[in-house]
Symmetry: C2
Subunit: 348 residues, 2 copies
DNA sequence: CACAATCTTGGGAGCGCTCCCAGATTGCGG
DNA sequence: CCGCAATCTGGGAGCGCTCCCAAGATTGTG
């Protein structure tokens, strides 16, 4: 029996593979095999190695390992937003939780990188790109790209496995994960039609983001199905104020509006506020449908009918896709759409 | 002049120090000196090395460097919350932004680690602790510890530089950064007294968090100064509903309350909602003061008088403290309190 | 019982870098 | 013109690990 205090065990700094080998009475190679769970080790050897590891509190030196394997066991999460907006967004919180849960058990670390501008228009994008493409991480998850930033494309071309969250605007080879925003918009429109509404407006998201476009297009499809006009459209950013402003504009331009599909719950909240301010009853005068099914949906009065997307699954799926690619799996889907579903509450 | 395409430059994979040396016509050592900005290199040598680096697109291999220097150039951000709550919290978003900005130019990466439980009560805390104390990161920032988790203490004892965000409940040697919550509470109380209020209540934060206790104690101090009673106290979690419930309880128990200091804006929002529901006018019947000066403060009606804490500075200060410690600076303050100030708006 | 096939094991080489030390070069006063 | 310090440069060793290959141990088979 080996005990701490044995001459063989005594030691100064962090234990190395070599010392584990000495204590276990085997060679470096054998210890390495045990650690990496490789075959070709007798039960006896395996046991004494594990015992020695426990005894010494040995933890492999990642740097040394990384140096030879050319893997870093870390992946980057690139967030290309000023930070404030993203991080206070419940959507992002859910995605992050999903990523974390998707990473559990994979023995990989998450390196967080914000793409920021320093106020002089100088971003850290170049530096970030260099870092990412230099083998510091095994892969990257990129979320909330606006417009058609070609960063993911360039990274992928540089040989780095990349998965994008949210459909990129410009067609690209880079795999992405997204909610089925089109179907979500479609469901919202159909639902409002079924409710007997005929003058259905929408407050769409930003016109330069796929998430805005896709939901709008889905809504249009639903309207066309019912042979209804699709002219009551206003774009807004994702904020309460934006939603309120957009609602006001809609009411001014189309006083006969009897329903509105807002591209996000937060926008719907603004719309509800404006409607209430104008004395419109919800849903009788104007029905409202949101998108996201975030906490907001159930914390306003009336509670929102909304299109649910499973944000946590979003993050988990991105992670899964990336890890699968890293593992060299074949026939992986280039992109993945996650289902959305309608949740009916009081506002419609 | 060296050109890409020269025989000396041609190459297969990622360039190494050695190749840069060859191209530049100097030795490994000289290149290393240039890269690490060490003295003792002639201008001529330095130039040709830089030229070669540019030419080859050389980026140092962090693993190799880390292996010998025993530094990783990365620090951990440990968040010990279920994730959802923290990440959707604007406070945390600001802190994260501050950390990021504090890290800018330091050439260090942020490794994000969530302390999560898997629903069976099994956390990843042990694994996380092992990882952190095994030299995978140079230091750690730990935020939102609840109660008196001894993780930071243990990490610090293990030799890892640690800075905690928010005063730990139990006394500890670990340096921390916090807002001056005591003074914040004091300012709020004094302000309400000055406004002529005499029956001033408080909705305090959780009794097991320093942030809750300190603000409460500050309020008590302010009340004592004015010789006012400090019995109208109710604790609440940081949520709108909690705030509303707490306000209801206060009104039931002390119908004569004419002012309330809420330990957070989000709680104040709940209080405002409850007050409005009961037909109380703000600030005439009951004045309200919040804490944080988050976006909430200005997005409710009436806009909140609140105690401002500079969240971004919070994160930046944590980072600074950690980096300074890593740099071996002496006479560093064990803990740092950031000033809070009163922002008067409509609710008081 | 000899020999092949299989399973285990150990040692060497080398990943790309930093750091130390010794050697080469230069400057300058005696 | 030499000596000695100051400046600059190069090579070796080694960080802790993985991976390859050869050698040893064990088992099976004619």
């Amino acid at each position: 029996m080996i005990e701490p205090g044995d001459a063989a065990v005594e030691d100064r700094g962090t234990p190395t593979l070599e010392e584990v080998a000495r204590v276990a009475g085997v060679s470096r190679s054998t210890v390495s095999r045990v650690i990496n769970d490789l075959p070709g080790v007798s039960g006896r050897a395996r046991e004494s190695v594990n015992e020695a590891i426990r005894l010494l509190g040995y933890v492999p030196n990642e740097a040394a390992r990384s140096l030879v394997t050319r893997r870093t066991n870390s992946i980057a999460l690139v967030v290309s937003e000023p930070g404030d907006r993203v991080f206070s967004d419940p959507f992002f919180a859910g995605v992050l939780r999903g990523i974390h849960s998707g990473l559990a058990g994979s023995h990989r670390q998450l390196v967080l990188m914000l793409m920021a501008e320093d106020g002089n228009g100088n971003g850290n994008g170049e530096q970030l790109e260099k870092y990412l493409s230099s083998g510091h991480v095994d892969g990257a998850l990129v979320v909330s790209m606006h417009g058609d930033d070609a960063l993911p494309q360039r990274l992928a071309e540089g040989g780095l496995p990349v998965v994008v969250g949210g459909r990129p605007l410009s067609g690209t080879e880079v795999p992405y994960v997204d909610s089925d925003n089109f179907t979500g918009g479609l469901l919202a429109a159909r639902h409002l039609v079924e409710r007997g509404k005929r003058r259905i407006a929408t407050i769409a998201g930003p016109a330069d983001m796929a998430v805005g476009i896709d939901r709008l297009v889905g809504w249009r499809r639903g309207m066309s199905e019912a042979k209804l006009a699709t002219d009551a459209v206003v774009h807004s950013d994702f904020s309460v104020e934006g939603g309120a402003r957009a609602m006001a504009e809609l009411l001014d331009r189309h006083p006969d509006v009897d329903a509105v599909f807002a591209a996000a719950d937060i926008v719907a909240v603004g719309a509800v506020r404006e409607l209430s301010a104008r004395g419109k009853r919800i849903p009788d005068d104007v029905a409202v449908v949101g998108f996201d099914d975030s906490v907001l949906a159930t914390s306003v009065t009336p509670q929102l009918t909304t299109v649910r997307q499973t944000v946590e699954e979003f993050g988990r799926t991105m992670t899964w896709r990336l890890l699968a690619q890293l593992a060299g799996e074949e026939y992986l889907p280039p992109s993945i759409l996650l289902p959305t579903e309608l949740v009916v509450r009081q506002s419609s």
